[in-house]
């Protein structure tokens, strides 16, 4: 169809050209105060968006906007095709066997809750065990606690070791015949620790358990292949990987998705409705009740094209380099201590740290005057904070557009912060 071929379906690999990449992100040119350029180091919270994604969003509203799956007119057909094309891009990106296994949600949190409601409530009974870990984001803790309180399932935690990695010895003891679900993050958003799924997934599979991976921090930053990982569900968010807010993904194996009941009832998810009963539409429509977030799904497709063109191996390699540099450089700043593994091979581009005698909140406030955006607080991972025995940390997190010069500026600004609050208690 003419007019729809602006998004290349087969993308070409581009060299990892940092200067060119930075030019694609208009926000990186802005100053947060006169003469103070932005240094954006809060990518674990959300990423910035390239012009290609912003343009796709406006192009959709300008040229194609219509409701999907229900019109015979040109705009509705085009919108439906673009929406479904975005689904296919997501499927290819994570190597899903079938495009229909990709369900559009709002975010990672909704994807995990969908599994808790539509799968776990149907298939788990009192006494069944769900294994999670101590380094989960609240969104992969709270839904399971709610299910525990409602259904009497047993919730077990794989503990964290002092270096921020998981205790695999204990994991081997916890994962057993009563384990029905392993719901685990692939990378900690609070510490950056990469979870060895290649060890944990086979343990769960050996006992016939289902495996849900929280990929909110892994899918944006490294190659993820659901078939190679041998997992059953994968949840992630568009906004952390160059795409718009308001779009998330749940991928699940077709057999599981088919066996599940719908999550919400309404339009678009039914086959037939009479006054006393309804039958469900096929997957994925069964899980996409109501008018979906069409525009953001399509723009998310553009974000995936962008990452695809770079190649996720190159993305990971770049972030590994920046992280490795930052681990060494920040360790040299007097008073800084870094949490989590010190080996850049064991962590993604996330560095949580503390600065002696300065509360993270004050660090963040002073860094802001240098244009440096970091996150401070508990990072929605309060169990990690308890395990580290700190109320909060400061966290710098990197993406494709960050440079070692920016790390250098962070390091010198931290030195200034230290001096500013100097001789603290």
């Amino acid at each position: 169809m003419t007019g729809l071929n602006h998004a290349p379906s087969e993308t070409q690999r581009l060299p990892f050209d940092l200067a060119r990449i930075r030019r694609d992100f208009p926000i990186l040119k802005r100053e947060v105060a006169p003469g103070v350029p932005l240094i954006y180091l809060d990518n674990a919270a959300t990423s910035q968006k390239p012009v290609q994604v912003i343009a796709e969003l406006t192009r959709y509203y300008r040229d194609h906007n219509a409701n999907i799956h229900r019109g015979v007119h040109t705009l509705s057909v085009e919108s439906t095709e673009l929406y479904e094309a975005a689904r296919a891009k997501v499927a290819r990106f994570i190597n899903a066997p079938r495009t229909e296994e990709v369900i559009f949600t709002r975010n990672t949190t909704e994807s995990i809750n969908l599994v808790a409601h539509a799968w776990a409530r149907k298939f788990l009974a009192a006494g069944d065990e769900v294994v999670i870990s101590e380094i989960e984001h609240h969104s992969n803790i709270v839904p399971w606690q709610m299910l525990r309180d409602e259904r009497g399932i047993v919730l077990r935690y794989i503990p964290m070791l002092p270096d921020g990695t998981l205790d695999l010895e204990v994991a081997r003891k916890i994962i057993g015949p009563r384990t029905k679900l392993l719901a685990i993050t692939a990378m900690s958003n609070a510490l950056g620790s990469i979870v060895p799924l290649e060890v944990l997934v086979p343990l769960a599979k050996a006992h016939g358990a289902t495996v849900l991976v929280d990929g909110a921090q892994s899918v944006p930053h490294m190659p993820v292949d659901v078939q190679a990982l041998d997992i059953d569900f994968l949840a992630f968010s568009s906004h952390k990987m160059l795409g718009p807010t308001g779009i998330g993904i749940l991928w699940g194996k077709m057999a599981l998705l088919e066996a599940m009941d719908p999550f919400m009832g309404g339009g678009d998810m039914i086959l037939t409705v009479s006054m006393d009963r309804s039958t469900w539409a096929d997957v994925p429509a069964k899980f996409e009740a109501g008018t979906p977030n069409v525009a953001d799904a399509i723009a998310f497709g553009a974000a995936i094209d962008y990452l695809d063109a770079l190649g996720m191996d190159a993305v990971r390699a770049h972030e590994r380099e920046v992280t490795d540099y930052a681990l060494r450089r920040l360790s040299d700043v007097p008073g800084v201590s870094i949490f989590g593994p010190m080996d850049a091979d064991l962590r993604g581009g996330v560095i949580s740290f503390e600065l002696e005698d300065v509360h993270p909140h004050d660090i963040g406030q002073v860094l802001d005057t240098y244009g440096i955006a970091i996150r401070t607080g508990h990072h929605c991972a309060q169990p990690v904070m308890s395990a580290l025995n700190v109320p909060a940390t400061a966290r710098a997190s990197f993406y494709i557009y960050n440079t070692t010069e920016e790390v250098e500026q962070l390091a010198s600004a931290l030195q200034a912060v230290s001096k500013f609050f100097g001789g603290g208690r």
């Binding site: 909140h361 004050d362 406030q365 607080g377 109320p391």
Partner: protein, 157 residues
């Protein structure tokens, strides 16, 4: 907010002084009442313990940890309240909250350190840090502590 002048507004020397050398940061003997305050989102925690004799606060101390603003505010609050009547302490809570909403100095009688916190009003994200100690004091005086800590952070749940 990134203006250097605003930074000096926020972190005045007197605030840093209270942060580095907090007053009344100690436990009190046999408190009449106490309360806990907590802003989990940023990790500020404070416990305020008060000894009331008749209608006068004869001793007050605080414990906890948090950012410079929350710690300095706790220190100033205790310094202001110690030796005053319960009614004066309550009036202080009101005057402080007023300062945070209007951005005008509280002008509390006999204690102008507190006016240094007026700059906080320009940083909406930090008002909750400055207010925590005062809210916690109010809670202690009202009912001598509740089952859940007081919070000034609406999003902390």
């Amino acid at each position: 907010m990134s203006d250097a002048g605003l930074m000096e507004d926020l972190y005045r020397e007197i605030i840093l002084d209270h942060y580095r050398q907090p007053r009344n940061r100690h436990a009190v003997d046999s408190p009449t009442c106490s309360a806990d305050g907590s802003n989990p989102l940023c990790g500020d925690q404070v416990t305020v313990s008060v000894v009331v004799d008749g209608d006068r606060i004869t001793d007050i101390g605080f414990a906890g940890n948090g950012c410079s603003i929350s710690q300095a505010s706790s220190s100033m609050m205790t310094q202001y309240v110690r030796g005053r009547t319960v009614a004066e302490a309550r009036a202080g809570v009101g005057a402080f909250q007023q300062m945070m909403t209007t951005g005008e100095v509280a002008g509390l009688e006999g204690f102008d350190d507190i006016d240094a916190l007026v700059g906080v009003a320009k940083f909406p994200a930090r008002v909750k840090c400055a207010s925590l100690a005062w809210k916690t004091l109010e809670q202690a005086l009202n009912e001598g502590g509740a089952a859940t800590p007081v919070t000034t952070d609406e999003r902390s749940a």
